[in-house]
């Protein structure tokens, strides 16, 4: 299970939104799975229930979580939506990587050559 960690300089609700998205992507939260109550989740993450509520509100607005009036909150069953977010995170990681490599003075071709070489090495 991924534990909850928060950094200092950004709102905690935004960090919770990201971490729940990652839990969905990693499969820790399965599509259609019931989500624990706000209070339980807040206690688990060690945050204020209002903060957890705000994060859930954002996830609901993004249709990643939905509420069924009497039975609680569930993770979306829309696997396409999940795939889209996965793609978004992957793109973000690649962009970060490119920025870092540019910082080291790598050009595009050099980067691709290096990445292919390392993947080949890893798969041996």
């Amino acid at each position: 299970m991924l534990s909850w960690t928060f950094t200092g300089n950004r709102p905690i609700y935004a960090q919770i939104v990201e971490q729940i998205q990652l839990k969905i992507l990693s499969g820790e939260y399965q599509p259609g799975q019931k989500v624990a109550s706000i209070r339980d989740l807040a206690a688990e993450a060690g945050v204020n229930p209002n903060t957890m509520q705000k994060a859930m509100g954002e996830l609901e607005a993004a249709d990643l979580v939905f509420t069924q009036r009497t039975s609680g909150r569930f993770i979306t069953e829309d696997t396409e939506k999940i795939a889209k977010i996965r793609r978004h995170y992957a793109e973000q990681s690649v962009l970060d990587f490119i920025k870092q490599m540019q910082g080291l003075g790598y050009g595009t071709d050099e980067m691709i050559t290096l990445v292919s070489a390392i993947i080949k090495e890893e798969n041996k």
């Binding site: 709102p11 206690a43 945050v47 903060t51």
Partner: protein, 232 residues
């Protein structure tokens, strides 16, 4: 609905020396609020005024619209910095004491929390470690169904694991309409459970803001901002 706690020009002098200088403050219901300030800034004075243990030199303090007194004490649960429980007391004595004093004390809730910590009803306060004492007292206070919880340094002097337990107990026991005011200078530990913070310095309010606002607008943690505001 009125504010759960409101101060208007609240001033307190000790032998002529000001401890609080005309504070204006409004606290809403359903929040966990940090009262943050260095030693001697007026945190405990403010909490004692809210409990009616001190009377204002001038100005006023209101709990849900009423001056502190017998009626407000029914709805305010107070954890003082120093204990008022006696060393000879056993857990069962303390439970009886609270049940006797407060109509809204839920003895079953307290017993349940104590059991989960393996604290027996025959255990004596005297033989408990500092951390256990703090936990027991917090359990007693949080087992009241109050509208306002005033916790004066609830995590001072206990180890990080005990701190986590105490914060978790606070989060899972206050009701949605209740407000919790936590005074502390251990900001990093409490920051993630707070909705709102009040910085108090030399008897004046230096800042009142939500934690999200601080992080969003200033891009810094409450802890970092505190260090900046209170740089020595």
């Amino acid at each position: 609905m009125s504010f759960i706690l409101e101060c208007r020009g609240l001033t307190k002098h000790y032998a002529g020396r000001p401890a609080l200088n005309g504070i204006d403050l409004q606290l809403e219901r359903g929040r966990i609020i940090g009262l943050l300030g260095p030693n001697g800034s007026g945190k405990t004075t403010l909490i004692k005024l809210a409990n009616g243990l001190l009377t204002p030199t001038s100005g006023e303090i209101l709990i849900a619209g009423s001056k502190p007194g017998i009626e407000t004490k029914k709805t305010v649960a107070y954890l003082p910095e120093q204990t008022y429980l006696s060393d000879w007391m056993r857990v069962r004595d303390m439970l009886a004491y609270f049940a006797d004093f407060y109509e809204n004390f839920r003895v079953d809730k307290a017993q349940d929390m104590l059991r989960r910590l393996n604290i027996g009803e025959g255990d004596r306060l005297k033989t408990m470690s500092k951390g256990t004492k703090e936990k027991v007292q917090l359990i007693l206070v949080m087992s009241r169904e109050a509208d306002l919880y005033l916790l004066d340094e609830p995590i001072g002097g206990v180890d990080p694991a005990a701190r986590d337990y105490i914060l978790e107990t606070i989060i899972s026991n206050y009701s949605e309409n209740a407000t919790v005011l936590i005074s502390t200078h251990l900001i990093t530990d409490v920051e993630k459970v707070l909705d709102e913070v009040i910085f108090i310095n030399q008897g004046s309010i230096a800042l009142q803001s939500t934690v999200d606002e601080i992080r969003e607008n200033r891009g810094t943690s409450v802890d970092a901002l505190f260090r900046e505001v209170f740089r020595c």
